[in-house]
Amino acid sequence: MGPGLRRGDESSSEIHTPHKHPLPTLLSRCYTPAMRMIIASLALLTAFPAVAAPIRVDINSGIAQPLPIAVPGFATAAAQPTEAGTTAELGQRVAKVISDDLRSSGLFRPIDPAAFTTSVSVPDVTRPQFANWRTVAAQALVTGTVTANPDGGITVGCYAYDVFSSEELARQGFVTTAAGWRRAAHKCADLVYSRLTGETGYFDSRIVYVSETGRKTKRIKRLAVMDQDGAGHRFLTSGQNLVLTPRFAPNQQTITYMSFEGNRPRVWLYTLGSGRQQAIGDFPNMSFAPRFSPDGSNLIFSMSTGGNTDVYRLDISSRQLTRLTTQTGIDTAPSYSPDGRRIVFESDRGGSQQLYVMNADGSGQQRISFGDGRAATPVWSPRGDLIAFTRIGGGRFSIGVMKPDGSGERLLTNAYQDEGPTWSPNGRVILFFRSARGGPVDLYSVDLSGQNERKVPTPLDGSDPAWSPLLP
């Protein structure tokens, strides 16, 4: 059977059905001439005996559009004060954060609360009046409660419903400090996202990046960290030393980056809890482009020795250093596959920057990027199925993805200069930085289909982002 018919399909709009038809009432209820035609033909075949087997219908296409979802303010039995406001105020703010998270994914369309016919009281949270939500065309509903705990913390209860089947889909409670209400909201949004899409969420996560300010010749670059939605922004380094390429450890508590501290460009570690910064080793030469292994036990980075730049692996606990590449040229930007078995990196060994994949021990190196232009800064998706990279060609930098064997290359962005991709924890969204010609540098996100491009707010210019794994 062919592709699904759509209501109002142009291909059928030329059909006209005369109104002196013998079935005027039936036909006038139908939507399109195509359907009228179908029903008219059905009418020819009247009165068949009963059939036991159900009729079989094939639907091969639908409409990809965001799911309309209602997220009314979270209810509270009585407004109780907390450090972060009353529970009633928090209920509104939690719903707003959830709504914004879901909208930013491009997969949901939160309905304007002004359209809601009712507010939600505590009993409604667990027994929603589904008819009210059908009238505002919501297909899914998120309700919840905010309660102050005796210890000063709060409990956020989160419930998700399918409006048309009147069915509860998920529920989860989150206990946190009053100040932690945003994290509870992100956790609730992740619950809803994962239940309705079947994929893991990514809203309760953070971004580390390089905050930039000042003239091009005297640029001040500082490490900064913020929530995935831009909230909770904070600088980590003072800006005295140039810093580049921050990357999270799998435990989200450590960041590795390159700093020019003491005019010696080296790989450093920053511990979020204590603020401690330390160089990872006293290597004689420049080391850069660090990244953690998926289990957090190793770092891979580039180091230059004797005019050659190669990829090295450092065992963090034993400090044992292993050289993984030996070819002439610059081998850099290494990134592990999520299973830790392979590494993708860029190299100019063949004359221009291209992507190569090797086994984690350095064996089996092979080029995977071909075609016009150069390819740089590869990052393996946390799902393992794709590699994101910067495609350089035709005077532009674009974000692209390809399979680990180099096939299926697609460009996701088309601007003057987009580079430095990093994956959301679920592998559905890519964050990168965009430089306008002679203008600002900003963080942007785009989803895997190349849709839903959004600017991520930062107080100053931003570059070199890295997305954390999902927080615990």
Partner: protein
């Protein structure tokens, strides 16, 4: 005079110095507040209570639906149907509505529970059969003209006809064209309501067959059920469940179907195969 000038100069110099220091101060490495530890969020398990759906709506005529609980026995099967008030401080979220009867336990619910279509079917407000004096010649003219124009792919009715023919009792005469055209009419009405989850890694190989029972007025009776699903694996059970639910949602959203009442016996039970092949 010179003294005054010197004073002025000194004052100006101080101002400049102060300004310079202020600017310098701005760029000086500010002592950064030590990065805090992450605020902890604890998960509260509230899965040990039955997950209960809304009471059946009169219009839906649904059999009471209990979605299965991941945990065994409900904590307290107290028969109070009152919604208990707000959670105050409890760690397990309050059980809002308790189900009097114990809920059967199963692992994660991949499929909706097959509904028991109640026999008490709403006597559909069916209009008297139109089409008694059917002028078939006019109609067939109409269709013959309309068909070629509509760039709808000709339907391959052979499979359908075969399957119906096999399944139907001997005495039942099914016109394959009726079945196929009916299928097309249903497809045209349900497809616009389907929002398949396209981004999933496993979407390419996934299909689901949903069975729905319809009342004479075209409304769905009870809950549509999953008949079969392809492309599922142990790794994608969440995704396959979400996928099946998009199909079920399409069936529930796009009702009542507008189909000829005189063919009701043909469409009172329908199996719809959702396959996003042409979207991926």
């Amino acid at each position: 005079m010179t003294e005054r000038r010197a004073l002025l100069a000194a004052a100006a110099a101080h101002i400049i110095l102060f300004a310079a220091l202020s600017i310098g101060w701005q760029f000086a490495p500010k002592p950064l507040a030590p990065a805090e530890e992450m605020i902890p969020v604890d998960f509260v398990d509230i899965a040990d209570v039955p997950r209960v759906t809304e009471a059946p709506k009169p219009s839906m005529k649904a059999a009471p639906q209990e979605t299965v609980t991941p945990e065994p026995a409900p904590v307290e099967p107290e028969p109070t149907p009152e919604p208990t008030p707000a959670p105050t401080d409890a760690v397990p979220l309050p059980e809002p509505k308790t189900e009097p009867k114990p809920v059967p336990t199963k692992p994660a619910p991949p499929k909706p529970v097959p509904p028991k279509p109640e026999p008490a079917k709403k006597p559909a407000p069916e209009k008297p059969r139109e089409s008694k004096p059917l002028d078939t010649s006019v109609l067939s003219n109409l269709i013959d003209k309309a068909l070629p124009k509509a760039r709808v792919k000709p339907l391959d009715t052979s499979d359908l006809a075969k399957s119906i023919g096999v399944a139907a009792p001997k005495q039942a005469r099914i016109d394959p064209r009726a079945a196929a055209t009916l299928a097309q009419a249903i497809q045209a009405q349900v497809a616009p309501c389907w929002n398949p989850p396209i981004g999933g890694t496993d979407v390419r190989k996934m299909t689901v067959v949903i069975r729905a029972d319809y009342a004479r007025d075209g409304s769905v009776i009870g809950q549509p059920t999953v008949v079969s699903q392809t492309g599922t694996s142990t790794g994608n059970s969440d995704y396959s469940r979400a996928f099946a639910e998009t199909a079920r949602r399409a069936v529930l959203r796009c009702q009542p179907l507008k189909l000829p009442a005189n063919l009701y016996d043909l469409w009172k039970s329908v199996e719809i195969n959702f396959d996003p092949e042409s979207m991926t």
